[in-house]
């Protein structure tokens, strides 16, 4: 990008702009004379609102009386006219293109080495809609959108405190993506903010197109199975995290926010938990813990028990399994592996296919493949039941789906090869890995290990709101 200052001769300046933009069709240059001075208004087609630019810029600007020179013109516009609330000054072509491509209209005048920019953004955006990935019954039905400023306003509407700070900056050499760092300045230590800013300074990407581009920079570099940063598409959830002293990162063009740090126990918490009575919320929470374990371990335990430790089964169940498994032509591990792979293929097809075809996938997979596999004897019914239960358990904790999927296969292989001993070995390695996960000094397994009694009120159980209110919790309590 051109780094030099603006040329004072308008024709030369416009020529330069055309040359830098390569004659791009969406760069609109409107030349006119106002106050006796030759001017040009530049904007990017589709990024500005035509009605706003006509009413707020063109109409007042063309009514300007005769001016002595260009300086007088800019002084008159700045002092006498209120064309827009957002009016940065443009000193070089780099800034000019950045502003123009962000929906600003830039005014250049003959003889001036600076320009005036007016915020008249008017591009089409998706409205605020219900989030698809984080279902909620009793909470708000608003989710983030792709526009960072809309998302900032959604947070501000919920936290009106002046302590809430939103720092906008740009990342990506080519994309110049707006990113916004949000935090409560009275709850987040300055040292932590400095560390996060330093991490973000290391970003030298050409483009930032999703949260996944930035997360590796704010996460610990070592091999971690679980994410030490989280994402949410709900402004209400993000606000609760900010109030707990966490830091959020909004990325323009992405309807998700990154939350730093993330704890393991948070994957089992939803905003609905706080809308229900504590006893029911506690029940639901333990149901999720159980579902997670079932999702990861059930197929491997089934395979290990049937293959190596049949004494764990009672005689009736044992006979039932023997009866159904003896008809299956494949070994139990191969059978389980086949069913799980089939499920993953069907799931991926369902996600990627266009919606009208997606329905056909469920019919083919559920009715044709599933039914046919059991009837032909390729897969035994008990194994299919176990796999279905395991998959269903994984759906209860959708946030951990990538980890659950991979661990399910890994445990299946270790259980199939070495029985319960193999499962124990892998469980130890996974446990150590989870306990080693740490971001900015916040252990992922807190408050379980390192144990914090104060955190148990919202982990082992869900205490009443009055009790939680008196706790005055911030995530800083878990810092080591």
């Amino acid at each position: 990008m051109e780094k030099g200052g603006l040329l004072p001769v308008l024709d030369s300046s416009i020529q330069k702009i055309r040359s830098v933009s390569g004659g791009s069709s969406d760069v609109l240059i409107n030349r006119f004379v106002t106050g006796g001075i030759h001017c040009a208004l530049l904007c990017c087609e589709g990024m500005v609102s035509a009605s706003v630019i006509t009413e707020l810029i063109f109409e007042p600007i063309t009514d300007i009386p005769q001016q002595k020179d260009s300086h007088g013109l800019f002084h008159y516009i700045n002092e006498e006219l209120l064309l827009s609330t957002d009016r940065p000054e443009v000193g070089d072509y780099d800034t000019l293109f950045q502003l123009m491509n962000s929906g600003f209209a830039v005014l250049l005048a003959e003889g001036m080495t600076t320009g005036l920019a007016f915020g008249v953004q008017g591009y089409n955006t998706r409205g605020v809609q219900e989030p698809l990935g984080e279902g909620n019954i009793m909470g708000a039905h608003e989710g983030f959108t792709e526009t960072v400023r809309t998302n900032m306003s959604q947070i501000r509407r919920r936290i009106k405190s002046p302590e809430l700070v939103m720092e906008l900056s740009k990342k990506g050499d080519k994309s110049s993506t707006d990113i916004c760092l949000c935090y409560m300045k009275d709850r987040v230590p300055k040292a932590l903010m400095e560390r996060i800013r330093r991490s973000l300074d290391r970003v030298e990407l050409e483009a930032v197109l999703s949260t996944g581009y930035l997360r590796p920079f704010v996460e610990n570099g070592s091999f971690e199975l679980f994410d030490s940063t989280g994402t949410t598409e709900r402004p209400d959830v993000l606000c609760s995290k900010l109030i707990e002293g966490r830091v959020a990162l909004l990325v323009d063009g992405v309807p998700y926010a990154i939350v730093i740090p993330r704890l393991f126990c948070e994957s089992f918490q939803t905003l609905d938990d706080y809308a229900y009575k504590p006893y029911y919320a506690t029940f639901i929470r333990w149901l999720k813990y159980g579902a997670f374990l079932i999702a990861v371990l059930l197929p491997s335990f089934y395979v290990a028990i049937v293959m190596y430790h049949p004494e764990l089964l009672n005689s009736t169940l044992f006979m039932l399994l023997v009866d159904s498994e003896k008809k299956a032509p494949l070994s139990i591990v191969t059978e389980a592996f086949f069913v799980l792979i089939m499920y993953e293929v069907i799931r991926e097809a369902g996600v990627r296919l266009p919606k009208p075809v997606g329905g056909a996938v469920s019919i083919i997979s559920g009715l044709i493949i599933g039914d046919a596999a059991v009837n032909s004897g390729l897969v035994s019914t008990p194994l299919l039941t176990m796999t279905a239960l395991s998959v269903l358990g994984g759906l209860v904790v959708p946030e951990l789906n990538p980890q659950v999927t991979v661990l399910r296969f890994a445990f299946l292989i270790s259980g199939g090869a070495l029985g319960l001993f193999g499962i124990s070995l892998l469980a130890c390695a996974v446990l150590v890995n989870i306990c080693a996960t740490e971001d900015y000094g916040f252990p992922y397994m807190a408050p379980l290990s390192p144990f914090r009694k104060s955190g148990m009120g919202d982990t082992a159980v869900r205490s009443g709101i009055k009790k939680l209110q008196s706790r005055g919790f911030t995530v800083e309590e878990y810092h080591e």
Partner: protein, 327 residues
């Protein structure tokens, strides 16, 4: 050095003691319980002297504790192999020495990974593992009480109290690690030691009091009384649950060996600061080598003497801490 809490310190050491107890070979009696408890009391007093002395270890003491860690790690592997008749690990028993090597190799792999993450994460994981192990053991052993014969508790003793104290010392393979890692405990060291020895005494008493009435009558016939007690604990009429004991047993084995490997690797790093890259791998190779050398021998007396020496050397070999020195 990373700092760990007193609960993490307790969990790390307690796991090794529980594993040693699970693998305990030969008959036990009420005298064994008194002996182990008396031994624990003596260890506590000696450890408190070390806590008061404070500070890091001198070079020659570090060499002793490195050798002790390798020996203890080897003894743990031998204990694991010896239980193969009682605890079923697929392919292990049927493949002879290769089966043993496979078990050791797999455990070594997990230990290597665990030790690469550092003491802090292993200590955190050890707390969860210890809690799960204690819960599972209590379920397993409490259900054994349904088959208990309380008259078995008062069966005649075979060894004298001194012999039982010796056995108690022999089963305390974590004393070397205790001396090495005590310096990294946050806060009051003596409180950490009190917590550890209290937990150890409580856990051993609970296990022994459950095992004695269940296995007492067939003590002559069993090699591993704690495992046998777990096998006899069947809360359901129509199915057996003793395979679940294998899960707890494996987890205890992995964390016990990991602790010894981490202790050895840490001391290696202290003694040879340039030798950082392969120290965990070297220690684990030495541990497996030691296991093959001592395989087939119980060496309870040697283990007891080594534990006693560790307790004596720890205070003598400690550099005086700044607080003591200036005071």
């Amino acid at each position: 050095m990373n700092r760990i809490s007193k609960f993490q310190f307790t969990a790390l050491l307690l796991i090794t003691d529980l594993f040693s107890l699970c693998c305990c070979f030969g008959g036990i009696s009420l005298g064994t319980l008194w002996g182990i408890l008396a031994g624990t009391a003596v260890q506590y007093l000696a450890a408190m002297c070390f806590a008061v002395q404070g500070g890091a270890l001198k070079k020659w003491a570090q060499v002793f504790f490195l050798v002790y860690a390798v020996f203890s790690g080897g003894a743990l592997f031998v204990s694991l192999w010896r239980t193969r008749s009682a605890v079923y690990i697929p392919y292990e028993a049927s493949h002879g020495i290769w089966g043993s090597l496979m078990t050791a190799g797999l455990i070594a792999l997990v230990c290597l990974y665990a030790s690469s993450t550092g003491i802090k994460s292993v200590a955190r994981a050890a707390v969860i593992a210890a809690v799960m192990a204690l819960l599972s053991l209590s379920v397993d052993l409490v259900s054994a009480l349904f088959n208990a014969e309380w008259s078995n508790v008062s069966l005649p003793e075979k060894r004298g109290l001194l012999g039982e104290i010796l056995k108690g010392f022999g089963l305390s393979g974590s004393l070397g690690s205790m001396a090495v890692w005590l310096d990294s405990v946050k806060g009051d060291k003596s409180k950490a030691l009190t917590a550890y020895f209290a937990a150890k005494a409580a856990a051993i008493t609970a296990v022994m009091v459950t095992v004695l009435p269940v296995v007492g009558g067939i003590m002559e016939l069993t090699d591993s009384p704690v495992i046998t007690a777990a096998q006899l604990s069947q809360p359901f009429e129509a199915q057996r649950i003793d395979s679940l004991f294998l899960v707890v047993f494996s987890v205890l084995a992995i964390f016990s060996v990991t602790l010894q490997v981490m202790t050895g690797a840490y001391l290696f790093g202290e003694l040879l600061p340039r030798f950082q890259r392969w120290r965990s791998l070297t220690v684990i190779a030495l541990v497996i080598g030691a296991a093959f050398i001592i395989n087939g021998r119980e060496l309870l007396t040697v283990r007891a003497c080594a534990a006693a020496a560790a307790l004596l050397i720890a205070p003598v070999g400690a550099k005086k801490s700044a607080a003591i020195g200036s005071g």
